[in-house]
Subunit: 330 residues, 2 copies
Amino acid sequence: MKPQIASILTILSLFTSASLLANEPIQPIPTKAEVNELQSELGKKLYFDPRLSKSGFISCNSCHNLSMGGTDNLKTSIGHNWQQGPINSPTVLNSTFNIAQFWDGRAKDLKEQAGGPIGNPKEMASNHDLAVKVISSIPAYVEEFKLAFSSSKVDIDKITTAIAEFEKTLITPNSRFDQWLAGKKEAITLQEKAGYELFKTSGCVACHNGVAIGASTYQKMGVIKPYKTENNAKGRFSVTGKEADKFVFKVPTLRNIELTYPYFHDGNASSLTEAVNIMGNIQLGKEFTKEEASKIVAFLKTLTGDQPSFKMPILPPSNNTTPKPDPFGK
Amino acid sequence: MKPQIASILTILSLFTSASLLANEPIQPIPTKAEVNELQSELGKKLYFDPRLSKSGFISCNSCHNLSMGGTDNLKTSIGHNWQQGPINSPTVLNSTFNIAQFWDGRAKDLKEQAGGPIGNPKEMASNHDLAVKVISSIPAYVEEFKLAFSSSKVDIDKITTAIAEFEKTLITPNSRFDQWLAGKKEAITLQEKAGYELFKTSGCVACHNGVAIGASTYQKMGVIKPYKTENNAKGRFSVTGKEADKFVFKVPTLRNIELTYPYFHDGNASSLTEAVNIMGNIQLGKEFTKEEASKIVAFLKTLTGDQPSFKMPILPPSNNTTPKPDPFGK
């Protein structure tokens, strides 16, 4: 090919990509997060530190395991003293794009969310005062707070700020679907492409759109038909008290959905096929054929991006002044 | 300095180092492990995979946390259903140098040890058949077994071989004490050096010697005076049935001892000072002065080496054929 023709083709292909992108209801995820590096590095340690729990056994990573799609892959989580959690742990991956945090959106951002499980008696079962005492007893941590916040005073505000700053880095770019969005036609198969078309024409995209392919609105679970579950969660109702908000939940992100099983707020759908069929049924009034469902599932599996890649943090040790873990109660 | 004189001094200093090293009862730890890389990489994933437990929540790393000195820093561990473990979790760091595994030495090597907790109803509460079913249901794992073992047949022998191969890499070279052993005089302070002298002259070194500074013999806990504890562990007696083996335990390694609190098989000593005083008392019939104990503690803190440094592994997802975790019983 002559150089000039190649250049023209390149320019044309860039035009095509740009217009392709602009017309799609799903947008590629940014490749890098803008964060305060020192706070994020400190937050990574805190995220993995089980000393934020009463038992000294449960860390943020226990239920939002970064080796497993930022979830625990359980229907509902295991908390302090093996208590069964009330709801499925949502993934921490790409959670910086969420409209708010928790299924019911009761925390406005990652920082507010991070304080929740630490003090929840069914989760980490510590409290903010104790968490601050533990962390501030450890000189290497205090030194890091000093560097990251220009103040060596450890408080819950700084602890949760640091954790949130780390969580903002947990974005997963470069999924095959994002590559396709960027113009790399061969990044997805015809089957996957057909699944995406079906995803759009069936109406899934009405809620699952944007950068996170969801996570930007609250929607009723059971628009067309009621959703049957033993789970007691009432969704936004618990936050607003409004009858209309009963069973209204934050739409979950579909990014990395192959990794974040089981599905729904009750974790009752163990497979993607099951989840797609139930969603079609109760949200859209559709009965997908086996072939249709498998196309949509094929598309969904193109949404797995690059997983977080970092060195496992080494935590500074406790000392004689550190409050001791209390796993078995006193 | 003239080049020749510098050379002569270098040679002299090497001689000094070599002879220094040869005369010391503690030997530096190797800087690198010889392992099968593919098996070790696979083993790293398995080490972090909670699907080897019945609940899907507990992995090897839960109780031998590589962010925390290869321990859980609890008196005794938390097992399936929050059961309280019978004994303190020993560090996995440098465990390749142990004479045998577990406090009572009931497993001859790391491979045999790795199979224990998986099937122990008080620990991971799975069983070997189920573990094999889980892992072999995951195509990406099967592919890795094929590469690492030239056979895609997953069995417990290969699972535990891979985990052991990874654990062999968990050695911690380059502690300040090892640097001193290698001839770098300024690597430890006078106080720490004095502590080491006291450690030798007091007799600690009789059991805590060699590459792992312990871990090479079994000794009675309570040589001079009986050790008082509520803990029921009987040590080697449970393996041999010999009366003389009652309360005889594997001598723990002192490497990274600052990180592997609390101490002893019952985890009853929460500080190094407490541990040193009790050991002096019941093993050596000595009452260390406050100053002596603090010198020995200062020496012990020079034994912290480079901690494991690797990227947190990403685990391949389960699928519809993978047996489901069962955290809350059926």
